[in-house]
Amino acid sequence: MGVSSMKLDPRTKLVMVFSLSTLAVFVVDTLLLSIVLIISIIVSNFFKEDWGFLNRARKFILLLVGIAFLQSIFSPSGEILFGIKDFTLLTTGGLAKGIRVILRMLVIIISATIMKGSSPREIIQGLIQWKVPYEIAFMVSLAIRFIPILGQEAKDAFTAIQLRGIEIDKLSLTKRFKVYSYMFMPVLSGVIHRAKELSTSLEARAFRAYPERTSYIKLELSKNDLLIMSASIVFTITMLVIYILLR
C-alpha cells in the first residue's frame, strides 16, 4: 500500500515538507544534501506526484543551473579548473558550492510537491487547527491559489509582447532582458487590482467580523499521521546531529 492511499492529514505533509526544507537550508555538505534529495524524491514518489511539472519547469531548471554557475564564479576557492587569462571562472570550491545550490533548490521544489495532493481548503484548515490565526492561514491559501494564475498572466504578457511585433530571438541579450522587465507591469497591475477586489469582497462578506470562525471541516490526526510526523522530526534531528558531528 502506498502512503498516498492512506490519505494523510495536510499537517503531516507540512511537517514532512518543513523537515526536508530545514535540512536543505542548514546542511552544507554535498553528500548529506544528496541523501536528503534522494529521500525527497522517494517520499514525493510515494505520493505518486506528477513529475510532468519538471518538464514544464525546464526553463526554471536552466535558470537554477545559471545561478549555480554564477555562484561558482563569484565565490572561488580551491584549485582552478577553468579560467581565461587572469580571470578565474571555475574552481573546485566554487563548483561544489554551485552543486550544493542546485541540490538545495531541488530538495525544496521536490519536497513541496508532497503538498500537491492536498486542497488549499484542507491546508488552511490544518493551519487553523494548529492555532495559526485564520486571517494568516487564509492569506497563505490565497497565495497558493494564485501562483498558477500569476504564472499564466506572465505567460500571457510574454505572448502579448511578442504579438506587438517584437522578435525576441533576434534581440541582443541586453535588450532581451529589458523586454522581460516590461512583463512585470501588467502582472503587477493585475495583482494589485485583484487584491483590491478580493479585500472588498472579503469585507462585504464580513470576514474577520468575529475572532473565531466556524468550520464545516474538522481534521483529525490518525495513528499513521502521528507516526509519520514523529519519524520526520526524529529523522531531521538525527541528520542535523550527524551533520554537526561530522563538521
Binding site: E153, D156, A157, T159, A160, I161, Q162, L163, R164, G165, I166, E167, I168, D169, K170, L171, K175, V179, Y182, M183, M185, P186, S189, G190, H193
Partner: protein
C-alpha cells in the same frame, strides 16, 4: 484555416474541422455562446495556440513556420482585457514601445507616435498612465499600440465589453475608418447591435462547428 481541429483536453473538442478564410478589408464577426471557442479561434489565428489537426495560413504561409513577433507585424490582436497588453508607464511610451525595439530612430518613432495619437483621439493623454485612464481610453491605447505596426489584419476579442453607447459608437467609427485602408477586421463578440451595425460577415460557432450566418 484549413480543417482545423483543436482541443485543450483530448476528450473535449473545442473546434472541429474548421475551414474558412478572411480577406483584407473585410469586417467579420465571430459569435457564439460562452465556451463555444470564439477566443480559441482568435488565438489559433494569431499562433498563440497551435491546432491539433489542420493548418492555419497567414498570407499563404503556414503559421507554425512564423514567429509570434512576425505574426504581430501582420496581425494585431486586442485581448479581452486590454490591461494585459500594456507595459509602459505612459501612453506615449506604450504606443512607441514595439518600435523602440526595432532599431528605428527616435525621431521616426516620435513622428509615428504623434500621428497615431491624433488618429486615435488620444491627445492630452500622452503622459497619462495607461492604467489610470478610462476603459474606453485604455482600449484605444491598446489598439493604437497595435496599430503602429501597420497590421493588415485586426482581431478584437470582445472589444465592446464595458463600453457605453457613446464609446461603442466611437469604436465603431474608428474601425470603419480603418476599412478603406484595406485592413481586415475580425470582432469576437456577444454584442448583437454592434455586429449588426458593423459586420459584413457573421460566423457563428456552435458545438465546435462553424455556421455562416
Amino acid at each position: 484555416m484549413n480543417n482545423v481541429t483543436f482541443s485543450y483536453k483530448k476528450s473535449e473538442i473545442i473546434l472541429k474541422n474548421i475551414t474558412t478564410s478572411f480577406d483584407k478589408g473585410e469586417f467579420a464577426a465571430l459569435i457564439g455562446p460562452n465556451g463555444s471557442g470564439k477566443t480559441t479561434f482568435g488565438k489559433l489565428m494569431t499562433g498563440i495556440l497551435s491546432a491539433n489537426e489542420g493548418s492555419v495560413f497567414v498570407e499563404g504561409k503556414n503559421i507554425e513556420e512564423i514567429s509570434l513577433g512576425n505574426i504581430g507585424k501582420k496581425i494585431g490582436y486586442l485581448f479581452q482585457q486590454p490591461a494585459r497588453q500594456l507595459f509602459n508607464p505612459t501612453v506615449k511610451e506604450e504606443i512607441g514601445f514595439a518600435h523602440s525595439f526595432m532599431g528605428k530612430s527616435k525621431e521616426i518613432v516620435e513622428q509615428k507616435v504623434n500621428k497615431i495619437i491624433e488618429e486615435f483621439s488620444l491627445q492630452g493623454l500622452e503622459d497619462a498612465s495607461p492604467y489610470r485612464i478610462s476603459r474606453g481610453e485604455r482600449q484605444r491605447v491598446a489598439l493604437a499600440s497595435i496599430f503602429i505596426n501597420e497590421p493588415s489584419f485586426l482581431i478584437l476579442d470582445e472589444p465592446t465589453t464595458g463600453l457605453d453607447i457613446v464609446r461603442k459608437e466611437q469604436l465603431s467609427q474608428l474601425l470603419k475608418s480603418l476599412q478603406p485602408q484595406g485592413i481586415g477586421i475580425i470582432v469576437i463578440s456577444h454584442d448583437k447591435d454592434f455586429i449588426n451595425k458593423n459586420a459584413d460577415r457573421v460566423i457563428e460557432l456552435y458545438g465546435g462547428e462553424q455556421h455562416e450566418a
